[in-house]
Amino acid sequence: MPNYEKTGVLSKKDLKLPSKKQLERGVAVIECVQGIPCNPCVDSCPVNAISMKDINALPIADYDKCTGCGKCIGICPGLAIFLIKIKDNRALITLQYEFLPIPEVGSKVKALDREGNVVDNAIVKRVVKKGKTMVITVEASEDLAMDIRNIRVNS
């Protein structure tokens, strides 16, 4: 039994990690590890970088094909896709955010890991409204690129 079935928290071992080169280009990291009947990510990808055998299979991201466009981020109903990019020795993490208040571009927010621990201070670089979903890009420490998966807005 994988540990995340008990805890709800994935470890890096559960994921296919992109290489440094791939991260420098920017790739969509899919943290969807169970076969649930769902496939909008596949339809959203303009370069067919996400594949699924059938609707109940796991989505597989091809990091070499992925252009890092981020179209799949705001689509995922499970909020399970993150765009990760390394630029100028900083990590850029793009995620879905569904809480109020919506942070302002340029503001500082707390960066949280998969267990909700505060691991860094991050700077909000971009906020895109997709229906009622916010797709937010934050900048944080490079070495936390594969750890930061949520933000908390200081109120």
Partner: protein
Amino acid sequence: MRVNGVPNVRTCIAPLKNDIKVETQGKFADLPDARFKSNPKETVDVDILVVGAGPAGLCASIEATNHGATVILVDENLRVGGQLIKQTHKFFGSKHEKAGTRGIQIAKDLENEVKELEKKGRITLMLDSTVIGYYERDGQKHKFGVIKRDDYESTLYEVNCKAVIFACGAMENMLLFPGNDLPGVYGAGAVQTLMNVYGVKPGKKVIMVGAGNVGLIVSYQLLQAGIQVDRVVEAAPIIGGYHVHAAKLRRCSVPIYTSHSIKEVYGDEKVEGAVIVKLNENWQPVKGSEEKVDCDTVCLAVGLTPSTRLLSQVGVEMEFVPEAEGYVALHNDSMQTTVKGVYVAGDSSGIEEASTAMIEGKITGVSAALLLGYDKKAKALKKQYIMELERLRDGPFGEKPRVAKNKIKKLLEKKHA
């Protein structure tokens, strides 16, 4: 409660109006037959009666109407949509099942479709109404009593139909523990109604019991409403709901305690806290592991039971199927029960979820229309819906409903071999 002198009003769901007089009543009220007798009882004839305007009932009504049948759609609430009107999260599935669309939006889309059909005189919508019983079967004719509420008074209708679709949904399960009757102990559905329909916070600090999809989703919605979720406790050794829902909670720093349950709730007049206990591999409490946790709300998300009382009264064959979470009507691929013209769809045919409920609704709508002789070409469409349903159930999370539906099918075959 008594409203404007009318007894037995369910004030928790009755609309609030200016200048009404609300009183507590004694245990027994007078039988209101005098009022029924003085009210003219209307008799209505229709092709198909649909009971319940949730995802299954709405889709059934739209489908049946599109194939030419006339429909009366009855729901006890003031709005159509059933549980969809509280589902603020995005749905899974494919484009076909409106994946990525929030449940509240799906409810609006279906409501608009039904309202259009109502304007055209194809669907009669009876809201704030209850189907109270089954009275007569005469060949292809079924007679039901329906009560419609208006200003807390009720009017009785006699509805005669050629087919009926039961899409009555389900009831939340309760859990036995000392203090479970204290104000502040809620079902997850009630918490969702308060928050997402009425905009009322149910409390300040919540313990969620149950880590199935309902428990996980409602916990997340509580956080979105600005309410603290102290923890989620789950008696099973693993999280039952989707990992993606659990992950959303965990990264908001809400812990999930598997192999833990609630032992009791304490408080003077209302919930002031709960005792949480660890369970061993035999699901028995581990002595000395009790932990007192302060909270003002305990939310129970411990499963659902299909609502089937009307089906029993109709006299269809029922069986207890554990994987369907209770007694269910035996039904075939067309969702027809053992009584001709009586169909069942959605959670009342076995607990599952909204996407499959919508397809089951469509299957009943098209099947009933076919039975009544409308649109013979619709057979191919019915086949397509059945295939879509099988496809959605094909994964690991579809196993339980898959087993349930296979058992129901086998029981039906055995009885009618």
